[in-house]
Symmetry: C2
Subunit: 493 residues, 2 copies
């Protein structure tokens, strides 16, 4: 076997293990009986051990160092090697003792976060979060960085992203979006009908139709229920989504279904022949989120979308929606209103939630704020950007699971994703003649084809920035999101 | 870590991998979208590779050889070591090249069997089956045997079972059961109501009730649908069953549910503390089958059982069963009638099907019959024992998947299981005062407790024969099955 094939075999074997773990995790979130949890944890740990062994195997390092820059390889193969070598070098920077310490700290922090949130007592979480922040500072040192320790963390989720790049984006959010939201709120809409009783089965069937219409391939995936919606994939021919249904809140199922559907279309669009290789994987979290947000916001929250679907859903829920006209429904689906909880936020104020987390994480990594001061800082920032008084730490600084997982640097990818989505969608509108009309008639095939050709099939061949420039002619620019927001919300009747 | 703990760690790690595979297989049979199959196969192959590495690890061999007979170990620990060393030695007898050759031959044979069955053409399967029989002869030589090459194969499914032991059992079947069936058939019962339309949801709910009433713990398991019913377990706190529902045949769901429920109760009754160790595993296939058959036949097909459930099911399916009395229903559920297909057979003629397969397998291993002669031999034996003319090879020699899997020696465990069940049940009736009355009122807790205490908790501590002697005071004896059959069928009105 030649060296490239040896490399490929090793990577695909690691993929087998990682995807087997993903099946076990999917099962855990969907169908596993409650007593199955304890042994499932050790089964996952054993698989993780094998995946780690494979991905840090010395022979893999030797192969990668010999293959890097090999001109006999084609462009895709060279890109695979580049990415794999970068990943390999990153992993090699972690001493085994550090990995173990981090893993223990995360497991401890996750438990104490859960208890702290339940009991509304930040102090229960504080020491474990302090430990994690300390470990994250050490991790940044291990990984190395040019300008800012936070850059080392950002890079893990969004390769190449830096504090220096994010700051101007959030400066735009602060300077333009905060004022814009003040301008358009409070919105005049009675959205109480969104919280009538919408029976589960009818919601489920409607969501399945939305997924199928988007182009989600049910021969290569399925939808199930879980307490937190997610997308997972075991290869590009088996990409699964979950949703959550609240019978008293129509938002819940609709947005989670379209959002996860967008993630899933990306995974289904990766090429099976690149299984286990970087060319068979998504570019970054930000680009992944751009796909979910494009479908959720730019498509799903548009008037065009509901021109098609409102008559359908109105017919399903006649007693709840029979007397509500399209325009009222559309406004209710898009009500902008500052709130405490990130995951329930509208598509505009959502970014204030992210900005706050970003500012806090930067300060933590600069050691300018102590963990003990976070509740106060959190509440002050919510007052400043959203104009609201946070009622409790459970609904404030403790609301998200991310920090307890040690995932500092993750949050910004959510906003980046929305901003990429707006920029991509602006290009799609220019490049696909009649797109608006297609959307208004429930026809998404050209849009999906456009996403497939421009984004999905490439895997990691281009970086996020390269991809953005290829598609839109420029790097990420907040302007497109702002233009989208203005056109939409100022145009609302 | 002391040596015993090292051994335990290694075995439990192998269990993690094997149970992870089991989750992937369960998913494959229940929820996997159709395009997921190709990559799932390679993921399973990778896991199987790791499991094989672990179970043939030289260090494991060293540990086992040092621990065997270590008097500092307690009885359970010593039994674990004994079993593991036996397994280890067995595995060591297989050269890697042979394992690979067998694996390829099975994969080829499975495909050609499937095609041959579909096309009703034995010739398509014949060369691959010839290859498999040849490999099985070599396998018997590799494993070694005292009297008969078939003994080496039997031993893999039912440790210690030999041709010399089975022959007298099937001689009894031939001498006693064949005549008995002639005596009681044709039975006078119009069972056409069993094939009316029984809607799926109501059947499902009834089956779930049967499982719950048996004592199946839904916190440590779940039921799903699959095309072939099965039981699988990922540890004793996560034991899952599947069932199949035919809306035009009430037999299908009821027998598969109770049967798999019986298997599952055994697995749920194993001790979690023995996870991954022989003491946490079932004795043998025969003893496993005894649990499913005891619930299916001795309990589920009894008049007492239906004294309790018939009023319930009659109320669910009023239009189908409203005019059918208990006795007619009971007779229909127990109709004895020679037929072609093993899996649809009644509890008596079932053993003729097994006896035929046993005789054929023995002759194959004795090289007294050629594979090409099997269809003819098959049809002749069906004529002799069941008095019927087999209409086609699809409904004859090609009906079962087992041979295409290379599973020669497996079939006898089905009959052995039923005979053990009858013998165990006879003891249970003696040892549990009022058992008949409990069964007639839907109370199975004492019976389950009896099975737990006498069989389930022990894992592999006792051999099948030891267990049988401990419980019933003698070794396996066909008499109990024959007594059961006579009492039941001669007592029918």
């Amino acid at each position: 076997m030649n060296q490239y094939n040896q490399y490929k075999t090793m990577l695909q074997k690691a993929a087998d293990i990682n995807y087997a773990s993903a099946v076990l995790q999917w099962d855990q979130e969907t169908y596993m009986p409650e007593n199955g949890a304890s042994m499932r944890a050790r089964q996952l740990a054993t698989l993780a051990g094998y995946a780690h062994e494979l991905s840090t195997d010395k022979h893999l390092g030797v192969l990668l160092n010999e293959l890097i820059g090999d001109v006999k390889l084609d462009g895709q193969q060279q890109a695979n090697i580049r990415h794999s070598l970068k990943d390999y070098k990153q992993r090699a920077k972690y001493p085994a003792a550090f990995v173990e310490e981090m893993s223990l700290a995360i497991s401890k922090a996750f438990n104490s976060w859960h208890e702290a949130k339940t009991k509304n007592d930040f102090k229960l979480f504080q020491p474990d979060l302090e430990k994690l922040v300390d470990l994250k500072l050490r991790e940044a040192d291990l990984l190395g960085y040019k300008e800012h320790p936070y850059d080392a963390l950002l890079d893990q989720y969004e390769h190449g992203l830096t504090v220096a790049q994010i700051k101007p984006l959030f400066a735009d959010v602060r300077n333009q979006l905060v004022d814009f939201v003040k301008q358009i709120t409070p919105m005049k809409v009675d959205s109480s009908f969104m919280h009538l009783h919408y029976p589960k089965n009818e919601q489920w069937d409607f969501g399945m139709k939305l997924l199928a219409d988007m182009g989600y391939d049910f021969k290569a995936g399925r939808q199930d229920m879980s307490s937190h919606p997610f997308t997972t994939n075991f290869n590009s021919h088996d990409v699964r989504v979950t949703t959550r249904i609240d019978e008293n809140n129509l938002h819940e199922m609709i947005w989670s279904t379209i959002h996860e559907g967008g993630h899933a279309l990306y995974e289904q669009g990766l090429l099976l022949e690149n299984y286990g290789l970087p060319m068979g994987e998504a570019v970054s979290l930000g680009i992944h989120e751009s796909q979910s947000r494009l479908w959720e916001n730019n498509v799903g929250r548009s008037l065009n979308y509901w021109k098609h679907y409102y008559p359908i859903i109105q017919k399903i829920f006649t007693s709840q929606l029979g007397n509500v006209d399209l325009n009222t429904f559309y406004k209710a689906m898009n009500e902008v209103k500052p709130s405490f909880i990130r995951t329930n936020a509208d598509e505009l104020t959502y970014h204030f939630h992210i900005m706050i987390r970003f500012e806090i994480e930067v300060q933590l990594m600069e050691q300018k704020v102590k963990v003990s001061e976070l509740p106060e800082l959190w509440n002050a920032l919510y007052k400043e950007y959203l104009g609201i008084d946070v009622p409790s730490v459970s609904q404030g600084v403790l609301q998200d699971v991310h920090w307890s997982h040690g995932s500092l640097g993750y949050f910004p990818t959510y906003s980046i994703g929305s901003f990429y989505a707006a920029q991509f969608f602006a290009s799609a509108k220019k490049q696909i003649p009649g797109l608006e009309n297609q959307l208004a008639t429930g026809n998404y095939s050209e849009l999906l084809q456009w996403l497939r050709t421009n984004i999905h099939v490439h895997g990691k061949l281009y970086s996020a920035d390269e991809l953005c420039n290829r598609i839109t002619g420029e790097s990420l620019n907040f302007k497109y999101f702002m233009d989208y927001a203005k056109e939409k919300y100022l145009g609302m009747k």
